[in-house]
Amino acid sequence: MSGSRTAPGMLGAPTEIRPRVGRRWAGRGQLLVPYIFIAPNVLLFSAFSFLPLLYAVYISLHDWSLIGDAEWLGLHNYLRLGRDPLFWRALSNTLLYALATVPTSMALGLLLALALNRRLPGRSLLRSIYFMPVVVSAVATGTIAAWLFNDNYGVINTLLVHLGIGRIAWLSTPQWALPSLAIATLWVRLGFNMIVYLAALQSIPSLYYEAARIDGASALRQFRHITVPLLTPATFLLLILNIIHSFQVFDLIYVMTSGGPGFSTTMLVQYIFKSAFVTSEMGYASAMGVALYALILGFTIVQWRASRQAENVM
């Protein structure tokens, strides 16, 4: 290629065209680079998320037991959702669970991040301890939580008895089962929220705080007028992720209560699983899956728009 290059003003038309072609190809090549980079992700996402999602929509229009032949039902499964009291119970349980866990785990995560952002002895160890449940399998954490909350020989009840409070039927009474799950969820999710907030806190320039201190701003005012606004992007990200997590919770509940007592901890994904693998109604389970997808999508769009508006205001 170097031989074909011609100094400007020299004769030889072909030598002038070649670089144009080369530039054009180089330009196209540059255009292709991002697609090449995202191709593996797109392929994996299509294979393991998008195509299964389309297939779930297809299955939701059928009566299929997974092991037998499928029978076309049209929109019957979606109409059944509307008049199935257990679906609405599972939906309200899911919303209640999200309400109980999302704000609290975010607030506690922020408090922890603020505490562990300071110079403390054993800070790294404490951060690791709080983050540990995030990296451990949900089934393992669920099993540990089930042992902690066990009515008969759990650590928590043993402590309560020693304190003279008496036993609480954590997992076997409808009024205590959901709070027990919420506490276990806080334990699991706290570390993740803490790490995200910690990263966001460390990205705030210390300059702002120094200027505020010079102007005589108290610690509380600094937190309110510097920290909170600059943490907004992290807060929105966590809000979306925590709501999605709460809507999709399964393993922890499967291990701790299996959706009981009664239907007090039956969440949407529990009900989907039960319909798919216990009563072999794969079509109905898929219809619920599609409904859950639409719900999460709706929440995400609303939050995303709210976050855009908040950013514009800032």
Binding site: S65, L66, I67, G68, D69, A146, N150, D151, N152, Y153, A169, L171, S172, T173, P174, V255, M256, T257, S258, G259, G260, P261, G262, F263, S264, K274, F277, V278, T279, S280
Partner: protein, 436 residues
Amino acid sequence: MEARISNTAASSRRFGRRALLGAGVAGGVLGGSRRARTQTKTTITMAVWGAQAEEAAFNAAIAAYQALHPDIAIRLELSGNSTQVYQLVDTRLAGRQAPDIFRIQYQQVGRYAAARALADLGPHVDAAYLTDFAPAFRQAVTYKGRVFAIPHHTDTFALYYNRDMLQKIGVEAPASLAQSWSWQDFLLVARDLKQKAGAPFGFAMSWQNMAAYRWLPFLYQHGGQLLNAELTQPMLAGAAGVETIAWTQSWFKEGLVPPSTSIKSSEQPQNLFANGTIGMLLGGDWQIPFLEKTMTKFGWGVTYMPRDVAMASDLGGNCLAVTRDSKHPEVAADVLKFMASREAMRDFVSRAQFLPVRSSLMGEKLPYALRPEAMQVFVEQSATIPAHLVSTVTMPVFSKINNALGDQLDLAFTSGQDPAATAKAIDAQVQAVLGG
């Protein structure tokens, strides 16, 4: 001469090389044929669940079969419980990659057979082979007149008791089926265990993780049944059904059982029995190896299920089936026939603490590895399984009925749902399942 010698030497070297090459090719061919023979070895996959004793018993049966058939390899795929195996098999059936053989409860045969997920064993198993199996189990593996599984073993329920605690309250466990406790006597003992023997709770029932069908024996003991004789209509809302729900609900209301032992719970009641939290356990024979190993602080024994106007116990146990995806249904069926043969069955049930399903083994004293005297109680109790219960739980739609039963009974036990309302809700859901 030198040249000739040289030529000869060269030729000799050439010969040597050719000979080596030839030997190599021959070796390759021979080796290849050996490899080819190895490659033609048929592999059969077998999905089962089970605790240590069951795994060991399956492995012993597999080793015995492979010793007789060196050209067949059986790969055991072990899961923790039956739910996991069904989930695995269902998913692989959907992908046309199901294992050749799987362990299946009698209650599930109808569901799989109706969905044409099982191989019809008719061409591989002649009628004479099945004559030795007890009629209830032959019935359980037959769907629309065709055989879809081979009975392998059974288990049933009896009553474990803490010997030390019973001595403390001065009560002796019934020594024969005829002397089994009435419902009233049973609850009196449970109350005494709680009040006088230091047990936090009187007893617990092993029906967790949605094994709601294990509630049915109490219904039959009280003279009721879930469905009519033709299995076409629910009939739980009658007096017997409502009273049985009320009686089992009273265990929870009165605090005789731990609240964590309802049907949807994942509590392991054998742990509670082993550590003295409960004084009695309504449980199955497969729990013996666990108790033998872990219940070291108390002595324990086994007696008969309580009874009311009738005696009844649970139909437990499993059969073995070949899936429709098996590439070698003949070989898989042959493995099944071997596993359910008289000798293999005797060995399996003795090792894993189950009961045989062959009539010729039922009267025989089997060499149980643990507590043969306790196993005798289970053997006698198994004679009380009602035929109508067998017909009910082996219906193809029974998994849906079981789900309705579990959901509603759990509401009655944990949320105090009225027994009449519970019976009515179950009947409505069963009616919907039956297509009424």
